[in-house]
């Protein structure tokens, strides 16, 4: 085992253990403490009290949904940062979030009480529009796509605000997406998220070398035989679909897709074969931890998870950044 493989192994194992630990602790905490024994016997179907079963299944759905959503957002953020070669880019760069908010609010406004399909359609629509705007010579231009994303996002969020202001109906439904929330997660979400995230992870683990090449710059990549335009389009389409799904279902979860990839890069270095699983795992850890704090700090009151993500992720990122700079 050479040095690189060994360090890769250590990093991934440590992150996996941390992820398992975060999930394990989160499952225990909530309005009522569930001991590991209770959790285990409930999962094995050995509890007769139905309310405990219900609690376990609800908490399982919430915790795992938060974890997997964090994984997806972080990995998308990483991919976007690689594609655009820009560290300020996050998972919402293509206007996905504004699209989801707009689509969902439009559905509610039209009297459709189940806004998730509308939100997903809105997210996909926004991304498609951005990608069309970014098209150039059969491929994708970084600058045009970035600008397109900014414009599409701004237009759609303005449209959402317009809907909200001119709306005399229930405002809470509309505000939902801007807060980010896992309280409605169900066991179906776990399965859907699990499939989405695993496919997402495997595709890009498989493509990790091409991603490394992309980091060398457009000319280098082309000279090494990579069809840069097409490759960018594939990456963006796949991750946009994944992010659309997460945003439409759980609302805006800012910061995870920006900061988690950076933290992963500081831990694992620039090579994608380690970076991808690290970002994936760290995004999950960050979101699941934030989500747990958000729902337990003021029981029975809940606070928007986004606040905790920033309060937790920000200082941690600064600490890592400071250490890295100090070492150099």
């Amino acid at each position: 085992m050479n040095y690189l493989n060994k360090s890769k192994f250590i990093i991934i194992s440590v992150l996996s253990i941390l992820a398992g630990l975060a999930i394990f602790i989160s499952l225990q905490l909530g309005a009522i403490y569930l001991s590991p024994l209770t959790l285990l016997s409930s999962v094995l179907g050995k509890i007769s009290e139905s309310s405990i079963d219900l609690l376990v299944s609800m908490r399982l759905a919430r915790v795992l949904s938060a974890f997997l959503a964090g994984c997806i957002l972080s990995l998308s953020g990483l991919l976007y940062q690689t594609v655009f070669q820009n560290p300020l880019v996050d998972a919402y760069v293509l206007g996905v979030a504004s699209g989801a908010v707009f689509g969902g609010m439009l559905s509610l406004r039209l009297g459709i009480m189940n806004p998730w399909p509308g939100a997903f359609a809105g997210a996909v629509m926004a991304t498609t529009l951005t990608l069309i705007l970014g098209k150039q010579n059969g491929g994708l231009s970084i600058l045009k796509t970035l600008l397109g994303g900014v414009v599409v996002g701004s237009v759609l969020s303005a449209a959402s605000t317009f809907l909200l202001i001119t709306w005399k109906g229930p405002l809470y439904g509309g505000i939902f997406w801007s807060m980010g929330n896992f309280s409605n997660a169900s066991s179906r979400d776990i399965i859907e998220l699990l499939i989405t995230s695993i496919i997402f992870l495997l595709i890009f683990l498989f493509l990790h070398r091409s991603l490394d090449i992309l980091l060398l710059g457009e000319e280098e990549a082309v000279s090494l035989g990579l069809k840069v335009g097409n490759f960018r389009l594939i990456i963006l389409t796949i991750s946009a679909l994944a992010v659309s799904y997460v945003s439409s279902r759980f609302g805006l979860l800012g910061f995870v897709g920006l900061i988690a990839p950076h933290v992963a890069r500081l831990i694992a270095g620039p090579l994608h074969n380690i970076l991808i699983p690290s970002a994936f795992l760290f995004g999950g850890i960050l979101l699941v931890t934030s989500e747990t704090i958000a729902r337990t700090i003021f029981i029975p009151k809940e606070i928007p998870v986004g606040i905790i993500t920033v309060l937790l992720g920000g200082p941690f990122f600064l600490y890592l950044l400071g250490r890295k700079v100090g070492r150099k």
């Binding site: 009522i32 309310s51 219900l54 005399k168 109906g169 729902r295 029981i299 009151k301 809940e302």
Partner: protein
């Protein structure tokens, strides 16, 4: 020389003018009232108030209930009650009204809520008295009706509204006093995320006055977002969900966590008109009644009478009906004349016959006949109500009788 005389005359005239204007300003300036509003600000309002802007649906409803709508020159897009409100120009939303519109309407006073943005309120406050009506308790709604009535010179009307609200609130309080276990009521503001009302919201006080116990007792904010887990852990006895402005699709009851709750399985979930319960105006008493009816469904088919022995007035369901006929306290028991008995028993009684000076027979709609002993030709109220399976309460503090009867 001539010019000097003219100058002097002009000076005299100016002095006179100044004196007159001073006189006018003192006469009008002296009639002003100081109001302490719901966020503790002291606001001076010059009387008479002729032009009012309401930036709050509940204030609009108070003004209409007082019969002062002629003075209302501006309202919000959300003010949709009562009927005549549409003819009054709107100044925009509750949280984003147009300041230009407000200024162009030249108000003498502005009623608003804490939803009104501070940045917009500050410059307006310097020019116009701005009164924030944001009650944190149902009884403060009473105070607000009184304040608005005072400012719009509708004190008598304000007293009438409060009297008719009391004619429902006090009977309901008396009715539920005997409940040893007050059911916990979860008022949904929104179902996903789960938002309800905390003890600092006036809505919680309406729930308590209506005979329930608000689901959230800990002070965690007026409209807290709460965890669905706590619902399972600590189930409410009753759930109420809004159907009007904040309308929620009842389909949420088929989803987790609601579908597994005992309260849902036992069908103790009721829709309510949130325009009644969520607006701190005169109709809040109807909102309170919706809570009471959810707690005790028998109230849905019951009429509530309040008899004020001091003012000698009968109220039915909060509406002033008539004066009490021949009210008399005989041996500590309240006796009334035949007409008042007819008023109260209208739904159940077919005919009342006075047999002789000391007996009356009451023929019920179901064919049964009751024989009632009279005293001095008057009917003993409690006996009649008991015979008709109604409930009767005596409020010693206000000297009032409350009757719940089908």
């Amino acid at each position: 020389m001539v010019s000097k005389v003219v100058q002097a005359k002009v000076r005299h005239l100016l002095a006179l003018l100044l004196l007159v204007s001073l006189f006018i300003s003192t006469t009008y300036g002296s009639i002003s009232v100081k109001i302490i509003d719901d966020i503790g600000r002291s606001v001076e309002v010059k009387l008479p108030v002729e032009r009012v802007i309401s930036i709050q649906p509940s204030a609009t409803e108070i003004i209409f209930a007082l019969g002062a709508q002629k003075k209302l020159v501006g309202r919000t897009d959300f003010c949709d009650y009562p009927e005549g409100v549409k003819s009054i120009p709107s100044i925009g939303g509750v949280s984003n009204p147009s300041p230009d519109k407000i200024i162009s309407l030249r108000p003498n006073v502005i009623f608003t809520s804490t939803m009104f943005p501070k940045a917009m309120a500050e410059p307006l406050m310097k020019a116009y008295p701005l009164i924030v009506l944001e009650p944190n308790h149902m009884m403060v709604v009473y105070d607000n009706i009184f304040t608005v009535g005072k400012l719009l010179q509708k004190q008598t009307e304000a007293d009438d509204i409060i009297a008719s609200m009391d004619a429902l609130r006090r009977p309901i309080e008396a009715y539920f006093q005997s409940y040893l276990h007050k059911p916990t009521v979860l008022i949904l503001v929104w179902h996903d995320p789960l938002i309800t009302v905390g003890p600092t919201s006036f809505i919680a006080s309406v729930v308590e006055k209506g005979g329930g116990k608000n689901y959230i007792q800990k002070d965690i904010g007026a409209y807290p977002m709460i965890s669905p887990e706590s619902l399972i852990l600590n189930e409410p006895d009753i759930i109420l969900y809004p159907t009007k402005s904040m309308g929620i699709d009842p389909a949420f009851l088929n989803q987790t966590p609601f579908k597994d709750l005992k309260v849902v399985k036992n069908r103790k979930v009721y829709p309510f008109d949130d325009d009644l319960l969520f607006r701190p105006g005169p109709r809040v008493i109807q909102g309170m009644l919706e809570v009471s009816k959810a707690i005790d469904p028998s109230l849905k088919t019951t009429s509530i009478y309040a008899l004020s022995t001091v003012k000698q007035i009968v109220f039915k369901d909060g509406n002033r009906l008539s004066n009490i006929q021949k009210l008399k306290n005989l041996n500590g028991r309240i006796h009334v004349g035949q007409e008042t008995i007819i008023t109260i028993t209208k739904n159940q009684v077919n005919q009342i016959k006075i047999v002789n000076q000391s007996t009356a027979s009451i023929l019920l709609n179901d064919g049964n006949m009751l024989s009632i002993p009279l005293k001095e030709g008057l009917f003993p109220l409690r006996l009649v109500v008991d015979a008709l399976k109604g409930k009767i309460f005596w409020n010693n503090q206000h000297k009032e009788v409350y009757i719940f009867i089908k």
